[in-house]
Amino acid sequence: MLSAQERAHVAQVWDLIAGHEALFGAELLLRLFTVYPSTKTYFKHLGDPPDEVQLLSHGQRVLEAVGVAVRHMDNLRAALSPLADLHARVLRVDPTNFPLLIQCFQVVLASHLQGEFTVEMQVVWDKFLTGLAVVLTEKYR
């Protein structure tokens, strides 16, 4: 559960990403695959090494889903239900991988926002993304 101020921090950061979902998403995935190569096992369809066009396309999809979450912070379960079903029935990404993605997300935010990436933003986005991961893996069993 995010407070009003926490939601403001989420929205504030999202404003800087919105419109650039493909670029941020591609960098996120590239960092994930470079730093944690075992995560590539879930993305064979992107090629190995991953194709740049595919990275941008898939990165956009991932970040657009984060955008959906940002717009429905008070109703994440309903808004992400189809994605939760997808992860439970089809993708079945082991839950231990989400913290790896979140670490890379923090690095992307930090490296792009730099001086603007306050400690308040870091804690709120860690909380927000962790909550997102919980919703996506909740239907696993």
């Binding site: 470079t34 730093v35 670490q103 890379c104 490296s111 001086g115 990436f117 400690v119 870091q122 804690v123």
Partner: protein, 147 residues
């Protein structure tokens, strides 16, 4: 032991040469205490940790952060024998400080984010990868003597 290529080792060392160890240490420890507030359990004697601002400005946090990072800095000179380098500290963290080794992993991750914040685009995926290996190696070395 950390398995870095010669290129990765050079990149890690080159970047570290530009790091203000005192400043980055305080920032990393401060961010750890704010982002993962349960880690404050080890620092009850540090004074005011009630708000993010209080934590980041806390003199004890800065002082301790500097100490922790100076130690990490030493470790960077001995990447081939992290377990030996951190053996005594590992015993201390187990026997006297009673710190769950998970905290070393958390701090390592926060340090990587702080480096990304300072260096921006220069902190490439490859450099992140090398540093994540280093912090993981240090965390493992610090946990090595636990019993």
């Amino acid at each position: 032991m950390v398995h870095l290529t010669g290129e990765e080792k050079s990149a890690v060392t080159a970047l570290w040469g530009k790091v203000n160890v005192e400043e980055v240490g305080g920032e990393a420890l401060g961010r750890l205490l704010v982002v993962y507030p349960w880690t404050q359990r080890f620092f009850e004697s540090f004074g005011d940790l009630s708000t993010a601002d209080a934590v980041m400005k806390n003199a004890n946090v800065k002082k301790h952060g500097k100490k922790v990072l100076a130690s990490f800095s030493e470790g960077l000179k001995h990447l081939d024998d992290l377990k030996g380098t951190f053996a005594a500290l590992s015993e201390l963290h187990c026997d006297k400080l009673h710190v769950d080794p998970e905290n070393f992993r958390l701090l390592g991750n926060v340090l990587v984010v702080v480096l990304a914040r300072h260096f921006g685009k220069e902190f490439t995926p490859e450099l992140q990868s090398a540093y994540q290996k280093v912090v993981a190696g240090v965390a493992t070395a610090l946990a090595h003597k636990y019993h």
